[in-house]
Subunit: 106 residues, 2 copies
């Protein structure tokens, strides 16, 4: 019964990372390095507005950073994960492993 | 580059399961069997109203079921996971493993 009354590991998941679009952005940048706005859009299957909002939240948290560059006559925004973002992502994955351990009984 | 343009596994996470309080409820019921409303409240550290809302969503999805019983003069509600709920939880964990594999590169 002691195990039942501890706070669930799910509740301790970082809310900034946990939201699905933000988790998709962070895990993509964490594994692929720098990605353009349009590449992230394809990965997350969302609208420009929604993707911008989530990128903004991740930037505010210091987890990703944007770089704007001129390609011909068009500006292109690309993103990369920061050290703090990578640490947050790895802590999040460790927390997920606790949940898995809870459910699978090890 | 082909790997970059596929939909992120994070986007395909089941939204009913993914929300933190609901994930806490499902994983607790999946590992401990039947739990009372108050036990779930301690595990999720949330208000009665918020917990009720999330339990209601999980019931509507067919993932948990409630049983009310009289204990002395008080009614006590307890919950258990359904077969569909267990399947949804296990599929969710498999999806999490895809995300982990993406980030950790295996």
């Amino acid at each position: 019964m002691a195990g039942k009354t501890r706070l669930s590991p799910a509740i301790e998941l970082d809310g900034v990372v946990h939201e699905r679009v933000r988790l998709a952005i962070l895990s993509a940048l964490g594994s692929h390095g720098r990605l353009s706005f349009n590449e992230l859009k394809a990965l997350t299957d969302t609208t420009d507005g929604n993707l911008s909002t989530h990128c903004g939240k991740l930037e505010s948290a210091g987890f990703i950073r944007a770089a704007k560059g001129l390609f011909g006559r068009r500006t292109r925004t690309s993103y990369e994960i920061t050290t703090a973002g990578r640490e947050a992502l790895l802590s999040y994955l460790e927390q997920l492993e606790k949940i898995m351990g809870e459910v699978r009984g090890h």
